[in-house]
Structure formats: C-alpha cells, structure tokens
Symmetry: C4
Subunit: 493 residues, 4 copies
Amino acid sequence: MSTFTLAQVAEHDNTSSCWVIIRNKVYDVTDFIFNHPGGPQVIMDYAGQDATAAFVPIHPSDTLDKYLPREKHLGALDEGSTRELRAASRNKGKSRDELRVEEAVKDKPPLGRMINVQDIEASFTSCPPETAKEILPYKAMAYYASAADDSISYSENARAFSRFFFHPRVMKAVSGVDPSTTMLGYKTSIPIYISGSALARLGHPLGEANLTRGAYKSGILQMVSSNSSLSYTQVAGARGSSEQPLFFQLYKHKNDDIAARCIREVEELGYKAIFLTVDALVPSNRELDTRAPHYLEEYENQGKIIHGKSTYKSGDVSILGTAGGLIVNNDLDMTWEKTIPWIRSVTKLPIVVKGIQCVADAVLAVEAGCEGIVLSNHGGRQLDYSLPPMEVLYKIRCERPDVLEKTEVYIDGGVHRGTDVLKALCLGARMVGLGRAFLYAQSAYGEAGVVHLVRILEREIKFAMASLGVRTVDQLAPELVERVDWQPLSPKL
Amino acid sequence: MSTFTLAQVAEHDNTSSCWVIIRNKVYDVTDFIFNHPGGPQVIMDYAGQDATAAFVPIHPSDTLDKYLPREKHLGALDEGSTRELRAASRNKGKSRDELRVEEAVKDKPPLGRMINVQDIEASFTSCPPETAKEILPYKAMAYYASAADDSISYSENARAFSRFFFHPRVMKAVSGVDPSTTMLGYKTSIPIYISGSALARLGHPLGEANLTRGAYKSGILQMVSSNSSLSYTQVAGARGSSEQPLFFQLYKHKNDDIAARCIREVEELGYKAIFLTVDALVPSNRELDTRAPHYLEEYENQGKIIHGKSTYKSGDVSILGTAGGLIVNNDLDMTWEKTIPWIRSVTKLPIVVKGIQCVADAVLAVEAGCEGIVLSNHGGRQLDYSLPPMEVLYKIRCERPDVLEKTEVYIDGGVHRGTDVLKALCLGARMVGLGRAFLYAQSAYGEAGVVHLVRILEREIKFAMASLGVRTVDQLAPELVERVDWQPLSPKL
Amino acid sequence: MSTFTLAQVAEHDNTSSCWVIIRNKVYDVTDFIFNHPGGPQVIMDYAGQDATAAFVPIHPSDTLDKYLPREKHLGALDEGSTRELRAASRNKGKSRDELRVEEAVKDKPPLGRMINVQDIEASFTSCPPETAKEILPYKAMAYYASAADDSISYSENARAFSRFFFHPRVMKAVSGVDPSTTMLGYKTSIPIYISGSALARLGHPLGEANLTRGAYKSGILQMVSSNSSLSYTQVAGARGSSEQPLFFQLYKHKNDDIAARCIREVEELGYKAIFLTVDALVPSNRELDTRAPHYLEEYENQGKIIHGKSTYKSGDVSILGTAGGLIVNNDLDMTWEKTIPWIRSVTKLPIVVKGIQCVADAVLAVEAGCEGIVLSNHGGRQLDYSLPPMEVLYKIRCERPDVLEKTEVYIDGGVHRGTDVLKALCLGARMVGLGRAFLYAQSAYGEAGVVHLVRILEREIKFAMASLGVRTVDQLAPELVERVDWQPLSPKL
Amino acid sequence: MSTFTLAQVAEHDNTSSCWVIIRNKVYDVTDFIFNHPGGPQVIMDYAGQDATAAFVPIHPSDTLDKYLPREKHLGALDEGSTRELRAASRNKGKSRDELRVEEAVKDKPPLGRMINVQDIEASFTSCPPETAKEILPYKAMAYYASAADDSISYSENARAFSRFFFHPRVMKAVSGVDPSTTMLGYKTSIPIYISGSALARLGHPLGEANLTRGAYKSGILQMVSSNSSLSYTQVAGARGSSEQPLFFQLYKHKNDDIAARCIREVEELGYKAIFLTVDALVPSNRELDTRAPHYLEEYENQGKIIHGKSTYKSGDVSILGTAGGLIVNNDLDMTWEKTIPWIRSVTKLPIVVKGIQCVADAVLAVEAGCEGIVLSNHGGRQLDYSLPPMEVLYKIRCERPDVLEKTEVYIDGGVHRGTDVLKALCLGARMVGLGRAFLYAQSAYGEAGVVHLVRILEREIKFAMASLGVRTVDQLAPELVERVDWQPLSPKL
C-alpha cells in the first residue's frame, strides 16, 4: 500500500482533485463530490485534510467500501504524518460544547430517577430532570429534536392523544394482567416497538447496538433505519440471539439495482420485514437543524445561545441540515401499482408501508396486499400540518374499520405514556412505535436506558390495563375510549 | 413483661431477625417484613432501631394489636434505654422542613380570612392566602396533593364544571332558601359530604376526629376511609352523639375472611353504610408523591426545592410512594356477580359502589341492586384520562336518566364552589363529596376549619339557589344548566 | 336647636345608646343599628364619634331626612367642638392611598389620549394608559371592579362578543351613516345608554350628575340607580333641560308601601320608565370587594398590596362588602303574577325588567306585558356562571325571535367596542348599556369623560356601520353576523 | 423663476397665507390646506418652513405637478437660503430613532439567514432573527404593522390556516414538481403575487421599484397600490421588460372624472388589470399608528417606549394616523349596479374586486361579470372581526363552489408558509397575495429581499406539493385538506 505525507494530501484541495484522510487512510473523492448525499460543501470543507472527526459518527463502517471504488482507496498516511495528526488532535483544546457535554454527563441523574418518558425526553429548559438533550452535542440534539416548519404536526401528534378519555370498567377480574402481543407473528413483551431512526451514534458511541441489545433484554421488537450509523451487519451482530427479530426500514433508492441489493443484503442478514418509508422522500424544512451551525458558532464564541437572535454573520444558510443529506437519492416516483410488486419480486419478506397519513391510502395499502401499515407523519419531521396519526387511526376506526381487520396497523408519533399506547390499541392499532425516546435513552444511558424505558412503559401499560378492567390486549375495545368534544389541557411535554 | 436495652434490640437489624421499637415497646416484625403493605424497605430502614416517629402518624393505634401476633410483642425498653431515646430525640435538631412548618403555622392567617374553598386548598405558589399546603410537612403535602401521571384527570375534574352555565330564573319566591337534603335516608344540612380520604393525621394530630366533630357541628355526613389513621373505633368515639351517622369506605381485602371481619367490625361500631371502592385496586403513578423523598433531601441540604431539577444522587426510585402501600392487598378479582352478593351475605348495611366512571357501569350497579353509586375517578389519583365525574353524570342524564331515579347518585372530584355543587344537583346528583378540601381544612385549623369550610359552601349554595329561583334542592332541574359549546375560561384553582 | 359637646356624644358609644356626628349635626341612631342595610358593624365603628367621612360619599343628601325620624335629629355640635373636629381633620395626615390618588390624578393623561373604552376602563396593571382605576381610592376601585366568585361571568360577558364575526357587505351606498335610534320612544344619538350603577360619588364628587350632564351633551339616555349616591331629586336637577329623559332602576323594597313611595317619587320627579331589577336580590360574593379592607390595611402599612398574600391579622371577614349593604331590603318573593300588576297599579310608567338571563324568562316578560327587557347578569356581579347576555340574545334570536318583535330588548355586560354594539343590534337588540365604563370615565374626567366616551363609541359605531354596508341601525340584520365554531383570540380587556 | 428668502417664506405661516418649501422650491398651499387627504394639521406644522423631510417619503414625485396648480409653484429659494437650509440640516443632530435605525441596519443579519417568512416579518420583540421591523423608522413600522381595533382579524387571518390539516397522498410520482400557474392569463412562477400596499418608500428609498424589480427577477406578478409612494410612471419604468405585467389597485375617487383620469393613466402606462378596492372606504381605527407620535416622543425623550404607558402630555389625539389620510376621498356610494358598468365604460382592462368578505358578495361579483375577486379584509386593517379570508374561501367551497369555476378567486391575509398557500389552492383559490411580508423584505434588503422571499416560498411550496403527492397546482384538490374540529396550536407569528 502506498503512503502519503500530510503535505502531499494537502495539494489535493479542490474540485479538480480532492483527497481526504479518514482514520489515517487516504481517499480520492473527486468523482464523488457532487454525488454526496450530504451535498458537496461538507466534503470541500475537508478537502486535502483529515476528515475523520466529521465522518465517523455519521457513516457506518462499511460506507467507504460500499460506495467508493477500490482504486480510490489510495493508501495510508506515513508514520510521521499519523503522529503529527494525533498530536494535533491532542493539542486542540476542547470546544465549549464538548466541555458542556462532559459536564452534563458527569452530572446526569441516576437512571432510577427517570420515572417517565418525559424525564428522558425532556427538553433543554423544561423540568423535570433533563437528561438526554443536555448530554447531547448541540448538533446531535438539533438533528434528533428538530421537526418541520413550525413543529405543529410534531406538537399535535402528542396533543391528539389528550383528546381521548377513558371509560374505565370496574368489577372485572384483572389479576395477572398480560400486556404481551405479536407483530407480524413475532412475540413482544409489550405493544411497543423501537421505530427506525437514523444516526444513533450521534448520541452514543455504541449507537444502534444499544437499541438492539436493549430490545433483546426487554423482549421487544426493533425496526432498523436505512440510515443507521452502524452497518446493517453490525446491527445484526448486536442481537442477543440469532432468533431476535429485526425489521428493516427501507428508503428506496431511485436506482432499482441499488435498492434491490440493499433489500437482499438485509434479507440475507436475517432481517424479518421490509418497512417501506413513503413519507420522507424529499428533504424537509427542519429549522432547528438548519440553524444549528449558527447557534453553535455563537455558543462557542459567547458561551450561550440566544435562540433566534444569533449574531452569526456568515453567508447563506444551507437548508440541508444533517437530515437533508440522508434522503437525497430517494425514488420520487414510487406507485402502488409498480413499487409493491417490484419489492415482492426481490424478496419474500413481508412488506409494511410506513408513512400512511390518510384513510384513502390505508385502503390502497390493503388493496396492494401489504402485511401492515404504519400510520405516521415521520414524527412531525416532514410535512407540517399532516394529520396526527392518532387522528388518522380514529378516522379509520370510524370510516373504514375493515382496514383494521385486513392488515396490521401500527402507529407512531407523540407517544409518551402507557395510556397513549392503550388509547391507540383500543381504537384498533396493534402496536405503537417510539423513535426519539429510544434515541434519547440510549444516548444518555446506553443499553440500560433502553431497558429502563421499556420498564417504565410496561408498568404504565399494566396499571392502565388493570384500571380499564382488561387482562389482555385483545380485550382493549373502542368502547373504552371516547374522543371528547372539549379542549382538554395538554400534558407539558 | 420482659425488658430490653437498645443494644439488645440493635442486634436484630436484618431480615433474619428484625426488631423495632415503637413507643418504647419492642416488637419482632421478622415475619411481617415482606407482608408490609408499604413494602419491606421502609421497615428495614428502622431495623434494630426506634421507629416511633415514622410509624405513628400513618398507623391507627390498633394496628399492632390487629396485625402482629401477640407473641411478637416482646416487651418494653428498660428505663435507661427509654431515657436515652428521649434525650436523643431532644438533642436531634429540627429539620428544615419542621422549622418551615413551625414558621408557617405561626404565620397562618386567621380562619376568617379564608373566604372560599380555594383559599383553603391553594397551592404553595398561588395566591390568594395560602394556608393548608404551606403548613403541611412536605411529605404530607406530596401525599395529599399528588395526582396520577400528568394530573390531567385531576385538572379536568375541576374544569368540567366550568363548561356548565346557568339559566337562572327570576321572579320566583325565594325567601327562606333551604339547602338541606338526605343521603341514604340520613339528614344533612347541605348537599355536601366528607369523602373518605386516608391519613388525616399526616396533617393534624387529631386527624379524622377533626372531620367527625366538624361534621357533627355543621350537620353534614362523613365517609370514613379504610385507611384512616385513627382506628375505626376512635373515629366512632369522636362522634358528637351516638346518632351521628358515619359511612365506611371499604377497600376490600383479597382475603374474604379479613374483609368480612373488617365489615363486621364497622357494622358493630355503628357505621351506617359500606362504600365499596372499585377505582383504586392497584397502586397508581403519583409522581409528586414518588419524587417527594428526593425533593425533601434537596430541601434539607440546600434550603430550597427546585421542582424537577433535583440533584439528589441516590439510586433507584420506588414508585410506591406513601399512596402505594395502602392498596397492596386489594381484591383484584371483584365482579358484580360475585362481590355484591358476598357483601350482602356479610352485612345488612346498604352498599354504595364508589368509583363508577362510565354509564355502562352505572347501569350495572343499579342492576346489582346497589343503594347508591359514587361517580368518581378517585380525585384524579388513579387512572389518568378517566373522564371527569361531572361528564359521566352528564352522560347518564342524557343517555340513561333512569339510573338517577333508581339509585342515589353521588359525585366527587374537582368541587370548589357552591355553583359546582348546584350544577351537579341540577343534573341529578343527590350529594357531592369533597376530600382534599376537608383534609387541608383540618390540617390547618382542626375541627374549626372543617366547620368553616361547610359554612363557606353553605353560604355559596344558598346564594346560588336563590339566584336560580329555587327554594329547595328538589327544585334543581336539568333545565337550569346548559353545557356550553365554547371553551370558557377556567377559574384558577 | 340643642347643641352638644364631643364629650357628650362620646358617651353614647354602644348599642343601648348610639349617637353619631354627621356634618356637625348629632343623630341618635340606636334604633337603626340593626336595620342598617350596610350592617351594624360599620355604624358601631363610629358610635359616639364623627362619621362624616364614611357617611358622605355613599349616602344621598336626603338619606337622614328620609330614613331617620325627625326626633332622632338631636341637634348640632357646639362651636368649640366643631372647631376641634375641623382641626383634628386638618392634623390627621393623609393616608397612603389618598396620597397615591392625588399623585395619580396629577399624572393622569389628557383626555384626548383615551382612544378606546379599554383605555378608560383598563385595570391597574394593564397597559395601555391606565386611568380610571388608578385614580380611584382603593375601596372605590374594589367596589366598582369586583365581580362574583371567580369572575367567570364577568370575563365571559366580554368574551362572548368575540365569538361573533361579521359578514361585511361591500358596494352599498354608505355616505351619511346615521347611528341614531330610540328607546321606549325616546331619541338617542347612538344605540348606547348609561346603565344604572350605584355610588358614582365614590369616584368623583359630582357623581351621578356627571353622567346626567354628559348624557345630555352627547344626546344619549341614562338609567339612574336606586342606589344613586345623589338623591333622585339631585339627579333630576342635573338634567340639561326638563325634556331630558331619565329612567329609574328600581330595587323593589320588601315593604310594598316603601316601594310604592319610591316609585311615585321618581314618577313625580319626571323619570320616564321603571327598570325593575330582578337579578340582584341577595348579596353576592364579590371577593375583591370583600378583601379590600385587608389589602388596604396592608397597603397603608407596607406601601404595597400583595394581592392574595395579605399579612393582615385581624379577625373575621364580613362578606358584606360595599355591595352587600345595598340590597339587604329587597323583595325576595316577587313573581310575574303579582309584582308586575302591582307596579302597574302604582304607576303609569312603562316597565322594563332588568336581569333576564334565559329565554324562558324573556318569554314570560313578554307575556307579562313588559315594555322592555334587559338581558343582563348584573355585569357578572351576582351569580357566577350565569350565561353571558350576548349568548342569551343569540338563543332568543334562534329559538324565540318573536320576543324581539314583541318587546324592546336591551343588553348590557362586557361591551367595549362599537363592533360589540353592532353585533348585538344585528341579532335584534335595540340598545346596549354600559355601566362600569361610564363610572370610570366620570371618576377620572367628570362630565367631559362621559362625553368623550360617547364620542369614542360613536366613531367606532359609525365606522363599523359603513364597513358593514349599512346606513341606519334598522338595516343591521342577523345575516351580517355569524357565531363561529372555533375559539377566537379574545381581546385583552 | 422668482426667488425667495427663508424670511420671506416664514411670513406665510397661517391659514390665510400658507407657503412651504419642498426641495428648495417654494409653494403656496393656502387653498389646499383643507383638501389635504392627510388633514390640515400636518401642513400647518410646516407653514412658512421647509417641509421636505416630511413630504418626500410619502408623496410620489409627480404629486405637486398633479395636484397643485402651476401658478402656486411660486419659485425657488435664493442661493443663500438654500445654503442655510443645508447647513441647518447638517447641524441638526440625529434623532434617537434615526440613530437606532442606523445601528439596526449595520447589524442586520445577512439575507441568507432569513429562512422563512416569519424571520423577515418578525416583530420587534420576537425571536427569531428580527430584521425588517427593527430597521424601520418607528412611524413606518407603526404604519406597516398596525391593524384595526384589537387586531383580532389580523391575528385570526393567520390562525385560520392552522385549522386546516392535510391528507397527504403517498406512492404518487412527484419528480419534477411544477408550481407555476397563471393569473388573469399572465404566467407566474409560483402561485404568489405581491399585493398592493401603500408607501413602500417609508421603508426603503427605492420603494415600490424594489417590488417591481424583484417580481421580474423571480417571475411573479405585482399589484401596484393607488397610494404607491412612487408615481405610477416610475413604477412602470422599473419593470424588467415592457412585457412584465403590472396590476393596478384602485381606490376610486368620489369624483368620477378624477377616477376616470386615474384609470386611463395606468391603462396607458401598460397596467393590465384594475383591482377595485371595496373594503377600505373609510378611515379605520389603527391604534398602533394612532399612538405612534406619542410613543415616538417618549422614545426621543427617554430612550425607550413603554407601550401603553406613555407619559406624553400633549392634547388631543387625531385618530387619522398615517393611514387615515390615504382614503379620505374615496367614493362611499359605489354599487354593483352603477360602479362596475361605469369602470367598463372607462377601460377595457379586466376588473377584479378586492375586499370580498362574505359568500353573498362573491356571488354578486360573479353576477356583475368581474374577471376575478380577492377575498380579503385588508390584512385586518379595516373592520375588526371581519371573517378571515381563508374561512370565507372555505364557505364558498362548501356553499357556492360554482363561484370558484366562474371567476378567478384570490386570497390575501395571514399567509406565512408554503403550506398556507397550498391549503388555499386546495380549496379553490387560484393565487395568494402577500403584502406586509414584501414591504418588510424590501425595507430591509431591497430588491434582493423580494427575490429571496419568493425563493423561500417556492422551496416550501414545492416541498409541500411533493409531500402531498401532486406534481402540478391543478392537482391540488379539496380532498387533500380537512378543517379539523379541535383547536390546534397556532404557530408563533
């Protein structure tokens, strides 16, 4: 293998010839600049330089092998250069944000203090015990927490649950309540699954592996994102046993061959279902994410962020934040007629469509033979003013209850309490997904956080089942809930 | 009787042999550790030591006689040890919280300054004149004030009343308004009763006796909790005359024999009805109660409590707060078919089911022949998002008005004004219960507080009756109220 | 006439013999103590002493002549005592509240700065330019501003208007808009009248005379309160011409003879109609009024009022504030069958019933032959949760529109804008009354304030008429307004 | 040409003889004082003096030629006086407000930081990055930002959109989304036009020319206000090409001849349509505008403005703010029968009626043969509680959908997001107008701000179209939106 000096690499710092160093290896990415899902600028920021720190937390370990032709793997840094880089990294002081996170991690409350989902998910400024968001690097927080436009769908997703009240039944035998159920035939200890969400390593070095191991220990199911920051192989390797089921959240590539390769890869790795994502084909407007670099610069300079009053003076804002790059190659022309049969032709795995946002499409999904659907507006991260999934579920229950018989219906977005889960199940949902909550839990507490989160929800679900007078989830019926016609107070989330 | 030294007792500090001292007597509680309704940890905290201060305010005086076999009553401390304990107690400085309460008690406004229920119930931070909560020890406050999950049902219980407006009638003869009525045939001066609520001695040394005497002086009725902190005998003894009726709120023990013994005990003591509690069978999630120890530790260390930002660092949180222990032995498998006939077989007393939360169960209670029902969600302390009782009452009025003819219907939860009471009576309720308000009143002002609270409500009820154009409660009719279709402002509670 | 010394008077300081000095005259009020509408305590506070300062601003000049038998007018103070009193009054320093008011009066903005009704009515703490309430003595403010219980009806009265939106019509000829109309046949420049409200002299030495003169100058109509702080003769004397109509707001005395004397007195004085008040027969719970003495004491001692946290320590609170005393002798047993015919037997004046709060009573008033009704809940000062008059009007329009044809319907409560007035007229009201706004205006600016207030409303009414496409008030039709089904923002009031 | 000295001019300082200096020329305006649309006082403030600074930013350059007879153009200042004026202007210190604006302009964020419409429109105190309002002179801000009465219609215009949620459709081919459409046959790149709004030069010296040039560069359409601060000729001259269409917003003068002259002038200048304004015939109550002089005086004296607590002591407030003067000569007696045919008799241009506020008038406009209508309540600046245009559009869709087929329907008021635009188009609107946003954009960033604003909206519109599953605007259908029956959170605007 050839070796290079830092000086040699530094000459290739332009679009005609662009080299970067990653983990002391040298790569020629000239041809890739304008195909980079995250846009060219972020590459050019490191042209001729070491890009390791920016590259590693976002990209799975097999990225370069998968996407950069072998002949562009030019060789290694020479030993002196490697030493030089290491010294430079040691000498570079820590940023304010890094110091803040170190402090927050030291101070974080014991896991046992987290007694509900909000404790774990709580925002920077809210009480009670904030944890996850404070211990996140600012950019990771901005990526995880941001939602579309004015965050209306994000907020309404949660508020939708607060419009449903219970008709609890008394004098029913409820000893030995059992919240277990199945999803696509796979057993789960409670009707909760981990929804696919990208870039878990932004929050914790073990990333998605925390989710997989936590799911195993608590007996629940996990959907793995196309944009996982561990490779699909690594995630599969993190399973507690080869029997542990994993589902795959597919962003279908516009190139059918690449898409087919991806599906076949996960099928071979033992993934058990394809969750085709259909609500996030184009990059959306997530303003917290977009403004993050400005706010962060301000924080580094002044020690505080004045949200909305940044004095940052540099030029144009790219509206492609961390999120944008992830979905640049999506197939924009999928249809029921073409795409579902095509996936069937590639794999035998069951197909679930994730991102159904109205009754009409739920019906079409059934007609297309899908094994399941996820009522979801992508956690309020894509089209603002998309109806809350809980409202869509309610409409399906009222207008087309047959859908709930003909396919498995899941729901995600805005879930914080065991009572939220039971409201959805009463209306006919089979399972409820949580995304951000698990990201925050693993960021703050790793695998133990994931297990603890499941335990909190399990306790709340079992209590609420007993209080409703039911022993098993199949007894949860529409009569147990009512959509009230007044405006209840919303919980502080 | 044998005597023991402190040193002898101190040797029995583990689960193999566990002795505690209470009021200078020595008890062997080894066999009881894991049957303790409040959990084993709280016993082990005092293993081999004096437990008097923790034991006394929570347990009725007959607890040890009732639940600990005679042979486990080992004997007494010797004289020297008794002196030593007394000296230690004298030398131990007061805690910050004790000092705070002393100060608050000294500063509390004269009773005459309390001009409405909110004055008495007001929270720590709200105006107007706070009283009850400030003078309570933090843990007592946390137990009294806490509600389930996000306190939605707690808040909505009160807000529900604000959706009902009056159609007052004018030009009706209203001199000599008379708000008296009966409940199960017993006369009451106003349509208000004291709802059973546990542990009154947490707030005042005379505890439930204040309620009983206050009820006597003001001519109203009282329901006594299974979890009274005075013994049922003591409460009966506090009556103003042997004619004063008391009702008994039963948490049915899972062991029928124990339950039957309890029912027969109160029947013999002269209690007049059994209020079977059916909405609080399993311990609920009351977060203020759960977090109390942490906040309190913080307060002792730092002089203030930052709600939600405790720096308390110790391990796991038990979600069994003060509340949890009280309902650990409940019968989870009660049914209409089995349980009501069983109670009938044990007692001749009328049976009222407390905790009806939907129309269907109100109908079943009538069919089961109950003499009355209480529409209640346990003051918002059990299942969050249980419908407000006032809404359930409204549904019964609209859907099954026959229920209101066939049995006596009572309601509790969220009542603060005479107008609230009249709204419920207009819709068909016979009586309205208040729990927390009486607890706060007796905590702050003892028996006089209870009487004063009744006087406030009496004045408000009489004024509102006259303003509605009615002279007696049986003239209160559904036509006098309207559920408005807009969102009115809620009173600050 | 006999003369007395201060020492002689001072001996009669008890309920067996009670003398007071008013304007240097001596009165024996022993027999009157327990008949005093304001309660005995306030008399006993001045027993054997000079009561002038407390008596004068509340009682019309003819009170003593009317209600105290001639033989109890004992005589005059001697000259020395008179001088002594005058000196004492000079020497007594001013109270903090008096100094505050002096300062506020000096600083009050020019009248031209008041550009809307809220400017004039604004509360202590609100922007924009506060005027009236700041320049009022605390007790006067508390009496004027207070409302019942939690002030829900008070607030909802105003918010009710905000649910009505316009369907403005364009391309209509609107030059020369004319907002004049008639009430009981009497001409008014705009569809606004001054509603009867008590004790105008609490706010300004000329009291009700300001209202009468202002009404004359601006061409509007006035209803004079039974509890006017000027005598009915004085008010009549303040008219701009003997043609200026005055209406009389009657609180019917329980003694028919006294009531008849009162009606005949005002008829002889030239009053043109009897507005029989039926919604304020019993003293209500106005907490700001009730708490005023405590807050004021606190203010005097500490220079600020902490609303709701008074440290005032004295004994029991009378819930009879300034308001209570005024309605102590009301006839509680009026009926349609008895009372209306009785009034007809006493007077030929038209009868308007003030305080109709539901559709059914509006119908009964028509059937009783009343010439008009006022939809009113007494400005939210009596029964809280009485429906807002605007809602009652809307119900009449929907359910019994014939009422609007058969009698004149007026409305008061919560009116702040010309648009509020037009909404009521569109639904069928003939006139709209304002009470507090005129009290505040005359308190701060005397007669000129009254005229200015009318001008503001006139400008707003004319503008809105033109914008709706109407030239005269009879063109205002139900089709021009809509009750929206969403919750609009309320104006800050 | 005659010349004058300052002293000579100064003698003519009264209503009998009133001269003013503008741009060193001397004019006799005696006969014009009482015909001045902005009222006489503002002229008298400069009688006998130099009025240049007050005159220039409000009046188009051709005002004096158009409205003041040639013989009143008296001549020029002499050279010495001119020098003197220039020196005086140099010596006069800057006002606080001018200094504040200078500072704000220096500090304004780069245009690229503006990532949504709210960024540009944001109010003084709100985050995020305020721009436009801070850089505006206070009076200009007050004129641009003010709305009628309590700003209810202003706020509800925006909130109305928040009640509409989407039913996004998935699995539709959406590559190559195209948001272009036409208005009156003229092509536009996105369904947005610049609505006519007065006095752009208050915010930026190039005023309306920024709008015209920005519209050209971004391919959208512009409606020019009758009250443009550039002359109609100047605006026409600012076009990017003679093909660029301009529309004319007509306030019809009460004198038909003057109105006809105006219409013919713009037709000759190449304007393409007449937008007859019918919702702003009489001066409305815009309180921010009215109070501006007081607040500004306070600011100059004290360095801050306490909104609502001004200590400004001068006399009466004119309720004719900057706005009032502009519409003083409007024709108040327009009718469908008379006015539309009359305009047809004057011009061949298409006629659009701007200011339709209810369904009935939309129908009448169709019957009158109008080529289009604008659903508008003048941005909430005229009659408060006029229904939000989005609600009127919804009513038309429900009650008279034929209107949407028979004429082009536009809508303005409260638009902030691409999703707002699409909601209107789904319901049947053809185009959506924005006024204030463009005023603010050009004030802060000139022509580039206008282009940037269009780019923001274009990005949001294209994203939302793709997310809804549509490729072209004609696919936007009513089924894609739903008016929800709960109260959603409103975005912070």
